[in-house]
């Protein structure tokens, strides 16, 4: 069978440093995966490799069975993979509505058109309105993105990510910087907007991880040391040692 996303012996090094050291991972369509691991383990790098922001040194990335390594971010996006960023990355001078609409313009077929008016793109506009509601920013619909609060910006970030209707979604620390209540709202939101889609998310908040994920991939020092159900991962001694830190061993030493 084909996986929604499959990584085959993926490697990446910067200069002499190997950061991703042979990652194999296969994700079924519709699965929610949490990617966890110590700081600097290579989680964001992994996302960068998948989404085309970085080119792998070797190995393969397959999206629905199709090779996508070596492609540019926009090509990959057009094939149905979308991602968010650890550091908020939206269009600061555009309104919430415009941000979201930009997110789906390509995918509703508007492309580079300059012969049609945006306001006549009924399908795109309807979907954008829907998105504004979904991420709960109706009241801020016409506010410039810079003027949103942090949490709202994070919500917008997710909104822009899912706008295009991609089937595979990568979220990098979506809840970072949010308070507990905000986080739980937010998790609900993520669950809601990604139903039926394949989701990979990086998280440090274990509450979130265990609440959201069907499966957890643990990345340590550029390798996946475990890929299993939450319960199994929680029980895994290696994971405890390397990441969860029940004892205060030196996490940085892991992998040496």
């Amino acid at each position: 069978m084909t996986y929604a996303l499959e990584l085959k012996d993926l490697r990446k090094s910067f200069g002499k440093t190997d950061i991703i050291r042979g990652v194999n991972l296969a994700v079924n369509a519709g699965e929610r995966i949490a990617v966890i691991g110590p700081n600097g383990a290579g989680k964001s790098t992994l996302f960068n490799l998948i989404s085309g922001r970085l080119q792998p040194s070797s190995g393969e990335v397959l999206l629905n069975g199709q090779r996508i390594d070596g492609k540019t971010p926009f090509e990959i996006n057009r094939l149905g993979l979308s991602r968010s960023f650890q550091i908020t990355n939206i269009f600061p001078k555009l309104s919430v509505f415009e941000n979201l609409r930009c997110g789906l313009l390509w995918h509703t077929g508007a492309r580079y058109s300059f012969l049609r008016f945006l306001k006549n793109l009924d399908e795109a506009n309807a979907r954008t309105e829907e998105l504004v509601r979904q991420i709960g920013l109706e009241r801020k619909r016409d506010v410039q993105a810079v003027n949103l609060t942090y949490a709202e910006q994070r919500a917008l970030e997710i909104g822009v990510t899912i706008a295009g209707g991609a089937n595979v979604i990568l979220l990098d620390e979506p809840t970072a910087g949010m308070s507990k209540t905000e986080t739980s709202h937010f998790i609900a939101l993520i669950k809601h907007v990604t139903t039926g889609k394949t989701l990979l998310t990086v998280e440090h908040d274990m509450g979130v991880v265990f609440g959201l994920a069907d499966k957890i991939a643990v990345v340590v020092y550029g390798e996946v040391i475990a890929f299993d159900t939450p319960a199994a991962v929680r029980a895994n001694a290696k994971v405890q040692e390397a990441y969860l830190g029940s004892s205060v061993a030196d996490a940085q030493g892991a992998g040496h």
Binding site: F14, T17, I36, G37, P38, N39, G40, A41, G42, K43, S44, T45, Q86, I87, T149, Y150, A151, E173, A176, G177, M178, S179, K180, T181, E182, H204, M206, Y243, L244, G245, V248, A249, D250, A251, Q252, G253
Partner: protein
Amino acid sequence: MLKLNDIHAYYGKSHVLHGVSFEVGKGEIVALLGRNGSGRSTTAKAIMGLVHAEGQLEWKGQDILRKKAYEIAHLGIGYVPENRDIFPKLTVSQNLLLGQKGAGKGSRWTFKDMYEMFPRLKEREHTEAGVLSGGEQQMLTLCRTLMGDPDLIIIDEPTEGLAPKIVELVGQYLQTLKSRGISVLLIEQKLTIAMHISDRALVMGHGSIVFDGTPDGLRADATTRKEWLEV
């Protein structure tokens, strides 16, 4: 050491702090808690002279309200901002170098100390800080401020984006600081660690201090927690 009395702060025309008063003593770890947007980061910026503030602000008996940020830094207050503000195009060691004031002589802290504290940084010593992982950047900011040899360090959400294990580690290091006579004003979201290591806890709500007491006192005060901390 640090004394705030009726501090008001503004972003342009919007009034954010409405009379904040508290003190931080020598070698004390004080946790400043509160919801998002309650004004904790603004308090830190007000102390550093980074926002327009009014009221009384004293450091070691000296009025520092109208002083410039670099003057305040020279008087011994270190600041670790919440959004990290690392210098992306500079290497890790250059970032640390900028933390030093003057030649960095007589500082309690050396490069070696920093690299021992976070060996990960040593490995990435000559890497541009911009490509560091989120967590590595967090470590870097903390170390950079320590290089300036402050007597009081204001840390805004230091554990954000850190793996659980590292969060514990940071907690330990803050206590090490305290043992070296350095005061810490810790702005936190993660109650557990803050309550665990701090000597005193402050709770902020709507731009003023609504609770000032010990962690134990806060644990006992369910109404305050409910209303201002949404635990």
